[in-house]
């Protein structure tokens, strides 16, 4: 799944799931680096969503006609 396709809802949910798994001790050392890497990607996605503008105005205006 590419970064563009992942909505912040899903990114946020996945991030929360990783945190829950970690809190419940369901992530071992073997998985840790993979999970932490994924989490950092998700955090980046979420943070980018907060500060980026991605909408295409012309698309919207076209839809209005």
């Amino acid at each position: 799944m590419s970064k563009e396709e992942l909505s912040y809802d899903k990114a946020f949910e996945e991030l929360q799931q990783i945190v829950r798994d970690m809190e419940e001790g369901e992530i071992g050392v073997d998985e840790l680096s993979v999970k932490v890497k994924r989490a950092s990607e998700l955090i980046k996605i979420c943070k980018t969503k907060l500060s980026s503008t991605e909408e295409d105005v012309s698309k919207i205006l076209k839809g209005l006609e």
Binding site: V36, L50, I60
Partner: protein, 490 residues
């Protein structure tokens, strides 16, 4: 025409006696001037309706003229049908006063299409005909009327189960894309945008303005039209806001309009209001997903919802870091324990083996020493034997030597005597043979050129020779011939 009017009036109000009289003479073709008829009507009406009356009627149209005077159409409807209608007159001064009191009390200007309570005097103008001269409009009645309309809207929405419809929608986690219904010039719009854009956290919102009239009679239809436009592009938006402000707290009864409220309630996106008034909530504000009261507060709510997203993300980040660290530390600790345990076991095993080794070494040494001492005893014995043996041999040899020495002594002395005698004889012989002794016995030695004359040292005539005797040295010169070889006697 005049006849019709008169007839109409005659149904409801019996004409006065003078007028009846005139009618009685119709057959004689008594002719009246129009002015007289109209004057008669006026007189009749003035006499009959000398008082003022409170009349409840719907003001269909205000018909305000540029002069400021208004000529509203008043009507009464029953079951949607007009059952009474008459025109009215409001002079500018009255209209201004009424408007002021309406704005003050009902928070609404005098509004077309609503039922109001009018203080009227029934007048008849010779030129303009019959009308209701409006002297006042009761704002409190209108207020009650507005309240009743609002309640009706609420009742109807409740009946249709629309009151919570919009509020039951799921609010997006991150309401980034906002469809804004407002007016270009609205202070509320600029307040809203200013707060969104100036947020210090760098949150970015996308907004698109859908311009609409925000107050008065036209607002409901105008806003609904924009809601319909948004509906066609709803996938590009997370929420709709209706913001308004800076226009005072009047003209907001449109937000109690059933059609508008139903459209908001049924809208598939959350609709948030910030229409900026602080007294009674309008129905639209009540049924909206959220009412932000003012556009500024509404914008701050959006920023808060970004916060509510951002903070858990931050928290998640911190938690992940913390838990990862802890997991690594715990694992490290476990590993450390295992390592220690392993070391202890290894050390134990090692020292066990070492001890065993030492014991073996001691045993070995002891065994070695035991065997060594055994052997040394043997050696000692051997040495003893050897010494004794050697001693014995020495003793034996000593005895043999002594014996030999004893035997050797006389022999030696004898041999020595014989050697001494022999040597003395030899010495005498040697003495006899010495040149002096030979010369003494008469022999001489002749030398030529320093050497004894021999076959290798011959002499010829004229050579000088020296002859040595026992006592003399005779120098001579050879005179004759040759030296003759002498045969040796031996």
């Amino acid at each position: 025409m005049a006849k019709v009017v008169i007839f109409t009036f005659s149904v409801n109000h019996p004409p006065d006696s003078s007028f009846c009289l005139s009618l009685n003479f119709m057959s004689d073709k008594q002719i009246f001037t129009l002015q007289k008829v109209v004057a008669s009507i006026k007189k009749t009406i003035d006499d009959r309706y000398s008082q003022t009356y409170w009349v409840k009627a719907e003001m269909h149209k205000l018909n305000r003229f540029p002069s400021g005077h208004c000529f509203p159409e008043l009507a009464e409807k029953k079951d949607g049908k007009t059952v009474a209608q008459i025109s009215g007159t409001i002079w500018k001064t009255v209209m201004d006063r009424v408007n002021t009191s309406f704005l003050k009390i009902a928070k609404e200007p005098v509004k077309e299409g609503s039922t109001m309570l009018f203080l009227v005097k029934i007048t008849f103008s010779e030129i303009y005909g019959l009308s209701l001269h409006i002297l006042d409009i009761d704002p409190n009645y209108s207020l009650g009327e507005l309240q009743r309309e609002k309640e009706e809207t609420l009742k109807r929405l409740a009946k249709e189960n629309l009151l919570n419809r919009n509020q039951q929608l799921k609010f997006p986690l991150l309401p980034k894309r906002i469809a804004v219904i407002s007016a270009y010039t609205s202070k509320g719009l600029s307040d809203f945008m200013q707060v969104l854009q100036a947020n210090e956290y760098g949150y970015s919102f996308y907004t698109h303005l859908f311009p609409a009239a925000l107050q008065g009679d036209i607002a409901s239809a105008s806003i609904r039209k924009q809601l319909n436009r948004i509906l066609t592009v709803k996938q590009y938006f997370d929420a709709v806001v209706i913001v308004r402000g800076g226009g005072g707290e009047v003209g907001l009864t449109c937000y109690n309009d059933y059609e508008l409220c139903a459209a908001i309630a049924n809208f598939p996106l959350p609709v948030l209001t910030g229409i900026g008034h602080s007294t009674n909530l309008t129905v639209a504000e009540m049924i909206a997903y959220t009412n932000g009261i003012t556009p500024t507060e509404l914008a701050e709510m959006f920023i808060r919802s970004f916060h509510e997203f951002a903070v858990p993300v931050e928290d998640a980040q911190k938690t992940i870091v913390r838990l990862s660290k802890r997991l690594l530390e715990e694992t490290d600790e476990k590993l450390g324990h295992a390592q220690k345990l392993f070391l202890t076991i290894v050390k134990g095993a090692f020292s066990g083996h070492q001890k065993l080794l030492k014991e073996t070494e001691v045993d070995l040494l002891k065994a070695y020493q035991d065997s060594k001492s055994e052997r040394s005893t043997e050696i000692k014995l051997a040495i003893g034997r050897l010494v004794r043996e050697a001693h014995f041999l020495l003793q034996n040899n000593k005895q043999s030597l002594n014996h030999l020495r004893e035997k050797l002594k006389p022999n030696t002395e004898r041999t020595l005597m014989r050697f001494e005698e022999k040597i003395a004889l030899l010495a005498h012989n040697v003495e006899l043979l010495s040149p002096q002794m030979v010369l003494k016995r008469g022999y001489s030695i002749t030398r030529a050129n320093g050497k004894v004359i021999s076959k290798d040292n011959t002499v010829k005539k004229g050579d000088k020779i020296i002859t040595f005797t026992h006592e003399l040295e005779i120098e001579s010169t050879v005179d004759c011939g040759e030296s003759v070889r002498v045969e040796s006697e031996e």
